[in-house]
């Protein structure tokens, strides 16, 4: 009777540990299945949105494109008929924790007629680039009567993963 009770107790403990092990394995398997399904979804979403993401990337400025972007701004002179000077270029604090996205802070100056300076500002604001005009001041020189615009601009600069 005692031996049977001990055997029963031992078997019960064995079954209990086996059930716990099976439960853990089942949970791990379920987790893997869910993670796999999620990964498949992410892959599909990434594949399906590739065209859109590439288009969106084209609106951001990368490290290599900074010079080209500044030249593009200077080229607005021909369009607006004003003189555009880039007074300062700086880098702001990173927007994301991976420090891949940082704002490029520019101070631009434009001189000309009021309409031309305003036109420059309008073109800057409408540029299809991740650009925001932080502040704009348009003043008239009291002696020369020339209008001077000073624009603080922030452009989103991204570091592409392959550049890291």
């Amino acid at each position: 009777m005692v031996a049977a009770s001990i055997a029963f107790g031992w078997l019960f403990a064995e079954v209990r540990s086996t059930v716990a092990h099976v439960k853990l394995s089942t949970e791990e398997a379920q987790l893997l299945v869910i993670k796999n399904a999620h990964t498949q979804t992410v892959r599909r979403v990434v594949r399906d949105t590739q065209k859109e993401r590439e288009e969106l990337n084209s609106y951001f400025v990368t490290e290599e494109e900074i010079v080209g972007f500044l030249e593009r701004i200077e080229k607005l002179q021909a369009q607006t008929g004003t003189r555009i000077d880039i007074r300062s270029v700086g880098v702001g604090a990173p927007v994301d924790k991976d420090e891949l996205i940082t704002p490029l802070l520019l101070t631009l100056e434009s001189k000309g007629t009021f309409q031309d300076v305003f036109y420059t500002l309008s073109l800057l604001e409408a540029l299809p680039t991740a650009l925001t005009v932080k502040s704009a001041r348009i003043t008239q020189n009291p002696t020369s009567l020339v209008w001077e615009g000073s624009f603080d601009v922030a452009v989103i600069k991204v570091i592409e993963p392959e550049d890291i």
Binding site: F12, R16, V19, A20, V22, K23, T26, E27, Q30, L31, I34, K35, H38, T41, V42, V45, V46, T49, E52, R53, E55, L56, Y59, Q79, T80, T113, F114, Q115, F118, Y119, S122, L123, A126, L127, P128, Q140, L145, W147
Partner: protein, 111 residues
Amino acid sequence: MLRELKKRIYAKLQRFEFFARVFNTLKRTPTYAVHWYLLMLFGLVIVLTNVGLAWFVFSDASNTGSTLEQSVIVTTINRDELKKVLDIYRARVTEVEQLQAVPPRIVDPGR
């Protein structure tokens, strides 16, 4: 003393029809058969105890899921947001083209 107690319990249970019938059956049953019945009853008690114990110990084995579902909720690309942002930039492209074609007419406030 013990015999007296047994008699009293027997007498009290005899009042109930069910127990009276059981006692009658036992009286008519041979002694060796009663032993087998008692053994079967004992076995039934052990089986029921085992089932109850197993149910109590293993009842949480089937409770999985809610924590797993919570641990794998991860954000993906929001297509609506992406489309919204692209629409903003596409509108900017159009706006720049319009501005380049037709510069805005602004009256000089200094004049």
